[in-house]
Symmetry: D2
Subunit: 242 residues, 4 copies
């Protein structure tokens, strides 16, 4: 334990958070691949997939956070968490004044503990479900724990990876799902004002899938109809995938 504490104090730790559906962990391989990326940024040899998988299955719960830290050798530990009981059908969000660190400072897909930008942004949440962080040029990036999509004229638009965002695994599955059922999805730089011109806005994150947004700051969104339908359909899709 002391060894972990010293490593956390002097080094840097990376992590992944996995969701379990009906007792089965979701997207284990995708989380493993992303973990490997994080570790490679730190010049640390990743564990084997088998080691990672075993850790997941030995610690199953609704949501688990697996942390890796280096102390001469790679050490891992797990926190089991329950999904927060958000009894919400739709949520309110806002923008935060804390900008996401630029990708030439911190690679967006290095998922490490204690990122101050994200921590500070969370402190500004108030009564919002999540707050949206802008990037270095003012482009929309993502929430502190969610990705954002807008719907405009039947088309789905979401910030591209090179906007400086984490490649959210739920985000990826939502894009996959939308394309499979025939929608057009545009990944590109998104300006803050576009969110106000949108027909619908929704968030995506591991714990809840698709979350419709009915309010942005003091503005009501135009509709949550399509997003609400997609929330249910995506939940079915995920269960079907497992």
């Amino acid at each position: 334990m002391n060894e972990i504490l010293e490593s956390l104090t002097k080094g840097i730790a990376v992590y992944e958070t996995l969701r379990t559906y009906k007792g089965k962990p979701f997207a284990v391989n995708e989380h493993y691949q992303r973990l490997c990326k994080s570790l490679r940024y730190l010049n640390i040899e990743p564990p084997t997939f088998e080691e990672f998988e075993k850790l997941v299955y030995n610690n199953l719960s609704e949501r688990i956070r697996i942390v890796y830290v280096y102390a001469g050798r790679l050490i891992s530990y797990v926190f089991q968490e329950s999904t927060e009981n958000y009894n919400v059908d739709y949520v309110k969000i806002d923008f935060t004044s804390i900008r996401r660190a630029d990708s030439n400072s911190i690679p967006p897909d290095l998922k490490s503990l204690g990122r101050p930008d994200i921590y500070l942004a969370r402190l500004t949440k108030g009564d919002n479900y999540d707050v949206i962080m802008l990037g270095d040029k003012g482009q929309i990036c993502e929430g502190t724990f969610s990705n954002i999509f807008i719907v405009k004229n039947g088309k789905f638009i979401t910030p591209s990876l090179d906007s400086g965002i984490l490649d959210g695994i739920t985000r990826m599955y939502v894009i996959k799902y939308l394309k499979e059922v025939g929608y057009e999805v545009e990944e590109r730089f998104v300006e803050p004002y576009e969110i106000f011109y949108a027909d619908e806005v929704f968030l995506t994150h591991t714990s809840k899938g698709i979350v419709p947004v009915h309010q942005i700051g003091t503005m009501q969104t135009k509709s949550i109809e399509l997003s609400s339908k997609l929330t249910l359909q995506f939940e079915e899709y995920i269960k079907w995938l497992l």
Copy 2:
């Protein structure tokens, strides 16, 4: 212990590193003030000066790292470290391609554990004593654990705080010292090319005071004469201050 581990995993920790000269800790009040700033960014009530001072005196060693983390209440712990035995009169530095996170993402004076930009920059050090991080516009910021000064035509130039740097306590004392002995010191945006036009270059950091630079990448600096003299004089000055 478990409480600390969980807080480090889910939250963010701030710290200060203090140097001891001849058994006496240096600049305790300045470190305390900076710690308070860090904690206030996180909306955490700082400890009293008396609590901080007690912690310092109860853990005296050549160098101590005091960490504060929040877990419902403020928890602190200390690591004692010895000053690395750098038997060097002058050092080699270089630039790193990892940029310092911009101040609208992470306040430069929030001194927190696990900052990925600084950690990644350290990974690029190779055989350099330290590597210089540039800011969001390409301006010179600082090393991963040191501040940088250049000497040009008898004048001292160092990146200003609004370049996006930590207000290093040794940096502050060096500026104070230089002004007291009659030198002109300019704090401003410094461009990378200026370092190559300089007459002398030196670093400052807690553990070593003033460190002359004789080489930047593949380039020799013009001289280390004045810096070498200042190294000794500043050491005397610090001892005299205590």
Copy 3:
């Protein structure tokens, strides 16, 4: 004439546009001061105030554009223009994707002919009265020929000069007027989303004074009541100042 053409082709020209109210030119001294700034950026000795004033009075019309270009010596010429007959009480605006050049590239108060950023932004106007340009960090700057104000909870907010905007002379008089009648005016960085949370939005520019905004892109603004009242009051104020 050939001399002017060659200078325009090989050099750079600066200008000021003045409005005449009831046969009297407005803010001649302010325009002269701003012209001097522009010329000094180019290391060109400005004309005397008397020369400038004479040029203005010899070319009086509803609106005059005075251009200065350097060809060994300073050459000036004037275009007389009529104020476009905008029979509008309120207008529609939008954002443009063309960013305003950053102040470390082009000083915002260098008012020169042929600035491509502003010209390109104008090309994106469509049916909008003006389009709003963002700055290098995504902050709101100004329109292509107007400044922007928002009203929120009885307070007036407008981008500060260090947002990278021209110090519009009408903007300055509007701020002066608002303060004189007892309003609070905040000059600071303004984020694009703030415009959607505002109670009212209006533009200011030389030819029309205060222009209420009733629509931003596809969104109606909440009200134009106060702005509409101010339009008339400010017109009276200007006439009274003359």
Copy 4:
């Protein structure tokens, strides 16, 4: 003439400068293609290649500047210039503090008259042959009328187009030539400090081809041997191409 003057005063003009070798204009098609790009940014229908070619051949001189400006219809005019008599084998350059306007403000390949960033940079030249402009992130872009190359360990490195530079036609031919004779050429982001670590540095521009750099600010470059050889060989290559 008045029509041109009014258009230059109210609009924007684009241009190309062509060099003539032994009475034959060089790279007419490349200049035409680049002109078309410039005009398309402005939503202006370009002239036909035949019209452009005719204009070139009717105005042949050592160097001609062809300007296009829009006044209801496209108007063109030509200035004939002689190549400045630089009797130099190598040159001194420096950095300028004026940054090149970012590509989201002004497309780097919109070649228009009166760009203030470039004009202001020229004012800082002093006794330098040209000064190097950095981009919005501090990356090396180009000189005010030249492109820059460095040689390091037998490899050639030059800022990539997405560094925010004009696609210089001489630059393109130099890259083509270097590759044809078997050198490796890297186009990428180049940091200012790399120029000081280089074995050789040279500029390229229409009027002189390849120009070796022997001094950057107060620093001598290591060598101009290879660059000097290339200057002659490239001159031969161009003549052979015609």
